[in-house]
Symmetry: D2
Subunit: 371 residues, 4 copies
């Protein structure tokens, strides 16, 4: 129970260190009959690949995925789907100098205390490369969701202090700028800001927003496994995320019931809400409105400035983190947030199938083959 | 898998509706040998009981807990601990009028869609009374933590727009005002604000902060079961919580790496951090600093104003929610946030015992009784 | 994770000691809409109740069940179903003499080593009364199965050396004799044998057989969660069971492939097997034939003879187990085996709903309520 | 939740089809600090490799394992251990003729019903090659057990009707004959029997016995996760196993309490049992005696004789299973039974660490690093 499993029916088990032979994921519980190809998955992985813009590390990682099991003649078979990305362009020499130092903002210190030692090469298991397993499996979850008309999309709402209010979103521009922001002009200002930070050997964070459309009503389980709770778990488990909110989130705490409550109305037989302060979740279940969540990403911890720290012998010293690092990980994390959201929704979709006898009877028509 | 279980080793299973015979919880996996009495648990339950101040509902619920199993001669036996609180002062007549209406901000609509019908009496399973199971088991988790010198404390940071910055905290005053705020004067202003909302038949929310001290280094599991991820799940699963953050949280998204990174230093052989922007969690594991998290609570959904809604036949109509409701649930939710944090920490503490062979060997000394 | 949970979707959590306030179970994950009453559950509990015949203990336990949650207006609501049976007729004085002794054949010794001490009253958590939680939840599982035309039935195949071969079964006689054997004349001989053992202050065991009819094809998951594997877990977890087999079981080990293979044939479009050596399970999945399993029950450990043992101080001594004990627990265990089988099948039935996209699409028709 | 996970703390997730790119396993929850090499694991895999004797298939599978993650500088790191064996010598043409037929005794029919179609090449996921993941992870579990002085050993007790009673065991001969029997002369007779079956295009089964020594007292959890229950699950989940028993097993059902109860006695301060009818498990927990279990293996289903069956269109037809098959799988399954036992014990060993506060306090000494 090392913590590398996620989900209850659509369940993933990820593995791999940044400088070992590879990174991978096993998907257990994916229904049979979904069309999946390596190209489908590669599309998602390419969105998190480094070297895509001047704001991301220059490391050259092709990150090609191979399907090892669970797909036959182009379709999932219902058995575990094993996906692997072999590591390349490993330069362990870059990391030798940090073997005996604890990098501020990184897992090095608690990891060593917890396990007695650590794979110090590039963060080992705590490297951002760990997210490859999330994205590869998130791609498969997204394919399942699309079969049911559900679409999940994430984008960058803020970079450091540069943010775009919802009313100014230009969604078509998300794919036009390297920061995946719904607004090219703010993206340009944010880009200049990042460049200035790079010159100062500094880094920044930002906020990623993710929406899901087409959800049936009732996904999410009352009490602990609320839609909100599982999404919070999913998104907050991503390395640099320090906050998560649904709908109005923290702003709701300062609002009033008369404003924050979304009034219902009926339109052509369908139940709608006049507003969506709730972000698509009521009582922990999807309510038919658009699901909206946000994740706060902290500034990249690996900065080229000299920082005070201690070594593994507990002595005060300084560290200068070399290597090739992103000044901001937000753009590359967009697809990771989207993937974790898709994985959570796919799992809840399958769990909800057992919610009522009416569903069970739909599947088990009197079976003439049994006696 | 209806979603009423939480935790992996220290695991709870809650049950009960607001107007059924009672509410309860079964704790599975609590170590043997912890001193527990009904009075210990009652102390925690009394903190969430209604009727404690003019800002909470006047419902008269004594909420007395009974231990049904798992405790013998004052100590836990290692077997499941079953706790029950019988419901009292049920007035089903208050709720008859909402049987066929969907209350805005409540679970009514998605619950009915999900299960085909619902127990409409007082919210049924989606009632705030569900948190009794969380608090009763959280009390036991807190007793386990105290045995190891770990203390968890929650309090109210904000009520609507009234907030107390950290540098002005007066922790001794938390128990002196009905809102559990670390500052009596802000609490007084917030109280007046609540009174004005009550006059307007409106409600408000707020922010609860929770800290834990004395944690060993290394609690939390890399990747999905990070300390941050599990706390987010725990806290976001509470009914009215719409956002959660650790350490600087959303503020970190606007900061810089050179500021947000907490530098390490060594003091008398112990490793410390000069700041605590991370809120006590690095790489998803406790780092020896104080754990700090915050939860955003939305305004109470049950307000006495007339609101637009639809009925269970899908027709537009109006609703006036009668009954006795809290104008703000923040004060009563403080102990719920504290309980969910304690449950998460207790579970991670047990999980971490298996992290390394050195630990395993500490337990299994060569056993002369085996052959 | 004290081991008191069973199942993955239809999941039960049992609790309670033989001499505490009561015994109970929480069912998590039962679909909404199933008709359940206390009388339905009581019918099952009455079959394991002591005092039903001269071969069972004279303890007077009414074992009345109360539904505490999860049922509204006669139907399951989809939320946890909490069931409780209050203990009565507790005579702790009967057990005082065994507080410091380890009873042969009982859990006393390893329990004390594991937890540091034990609730010595009547076996505590390791008492046969623990099965009340299994049977009460098994009753609900059976109701779900019946909704789908699946029927589970258990009976006594052997008592000590008295056994009935399949070809001599008279199923209608099962309910006519106190031993639940499909043959009154063998039951009579077995009864005389039990009486002779009682006179000798001795006890015996037997074999329980359980069959399920009406199963759809494909229940059970390949690899670890095979139908066989989960049934073996379910049945072998019952206190006195020391062996379990499916179909021909141990006899298959001495057979040949040409005999043991069940040939398929087609009849009016349905696929059948000419024989059923497999006991209804192929590759770990139900094959449409009748499911057949057997459980070996050891002789009752509590016998009135004086036995050699050690005390809790590790000294050699003797023990005479007083109190009221069954000379054979097989008849009372019949409904327990049936319940564990029903619980396993109900869970696999729900798990199998997610096996293929075709099933998923049956549930999630394009939903006009979503947008 | 496709059923390819096993264990709760030491948890494995296997994947792979017989004719896909490979077979593998991810071990989640293995403690850090255990010495593991590919050679260690290969030793176990070589014991199940085909082509080792004239009684096993002539398929040439080198089955070389590669460690992909979780081991650094020769020791486990505490993070997931991913192991892969690439498939070789795949001859899909051998299997083309069975694509549209259901082989008697195989998973083909229910698999197709369950998932809508199947990977028909060599059994796909339901192939015996699936056990590679069990054995590779079982090797790691065995290394953990050995660190604590626990040794697990399996061997062949019976082949078809040829069996060796316990009092005639010659354990040193197990490694001297191709059938892994504790007695060369019976092995020779059994070998001749197998040869005669091969000539008749037939197959046989047998019984595997597994013992574990050095277990601490108290492994296994009361109620559902008894040592017996989890071992039964583990062993019965192996493809061809149709029965499992602990200690005297089915023979106990015909015994008497006065015989079957193992009397305790004290020897030099250690508690012992005079007999071991219980097979080392009392009340579902290890009792310090030798653990003894047996598994009944059915005859190999793939026989070269022509058999009656139906095709995927539901029509009556005949099938002749070509390809290279073992006339008996017992010898190759010995290491699989041993592996599943080791996995179960390793998991229970870790679970038991949290059984009492005394254990917890042993790990969490007051930590001067926390504040």
């Amino acid at each position: 129970m090392s913590g590398s499993l996620f989900g209850s029916i659509f369940r993933i088990s990820t593995w791999g260190e940044s400088h070992g032979p590879g990174i991978g994921v096993v998907i257990d519980g994916c229904p049979a009959g979904i069309s999946v190809s390596e190209a489908d998955i590669q599309n998602y992985l390419d969105r998190r690949k480094p070297g895509q813009s001047k704001y991301t590390t220059k490391r050259n990682e092709s990150d090609s995925v191979e399907i090892l099991s669970g797909v036959f003649e182009g379709k999932t078979t219902g058995t575990p789907i094993s996906l692997i990305v072999r590591n390349q362009d490993q330069r362990p020499r870059d990391y030798g100098n940090i073997a005996s130092l604890y990098r501020p903002g990184h897992a090095d210190y608690p990891f060593t205390e917890k396990y007695g030692f650590r794979d110090y090469r590039g963060g080992g298991r705590s490297s951002g490369r760990e997210t490859i397993g999330r994205v590869a499996s998130g791609a498969v979850a997204s394919l399942l969701l699309k079969e049911l008309g559900i679409h999940v999309t994430a984008y960058t709402k803020s970079i450091g202090p540069f943010t775009i209010p919802e009313e100014e979103y230009r969604m078509s521009e998300v794919s036009e700028n390297a920061l995946y922001m719904p607004g090219n002009s703010v993206a340009e200002q944010a880009g200049a800001y990042i460049s200035s930070l790079m010159a100062e050997r500094d880094s920044c964070g930002g906020i990623i927003e993710c929406v899901a459309e087409g959800l049936p009503v009732g996904l999410g389980e009352p009490v602990f496994d609320k839609l909100d709770g599982l999404l919070a778990h999913a998104v907050m488990s991503i390395g640099a995320v320090k906050g998560v909110e649904i709908g109005d989130g923290f702003a709701a705490a300062a609002s009033r019931g008369s404003i924050n409550n979304d009034a219902f109305y009926s339109e052509n037989g369908a139940i709608r809400k006049q507003t969506n302060h709730a972000g698509g979740s009521l009582g922990g279940m999807s309510d038919g409105s658009r699901l909206v969540l946000r994740a706060a990403i902290k500034p990249t911890s690996s900065i080229a400035r000299t920082q005070q720290t201690v070594n593994t012998s507990g002595e005060n010293t300084e560290i200068t983190v070399l290597g090739r690092h992103d000044p901001v990980i937000v753009p590359r994390a967009v697809v990771v947030v989207e993937s974790m959201t898709a994985l959570t929704l796919a799992d809840l979709l399958l769990r909800n199938m057992c919610s009522k006898l009416e569903h069970v009877k739909k599947i088990y028509q009197p079976d003439p083959k049994a006696r």
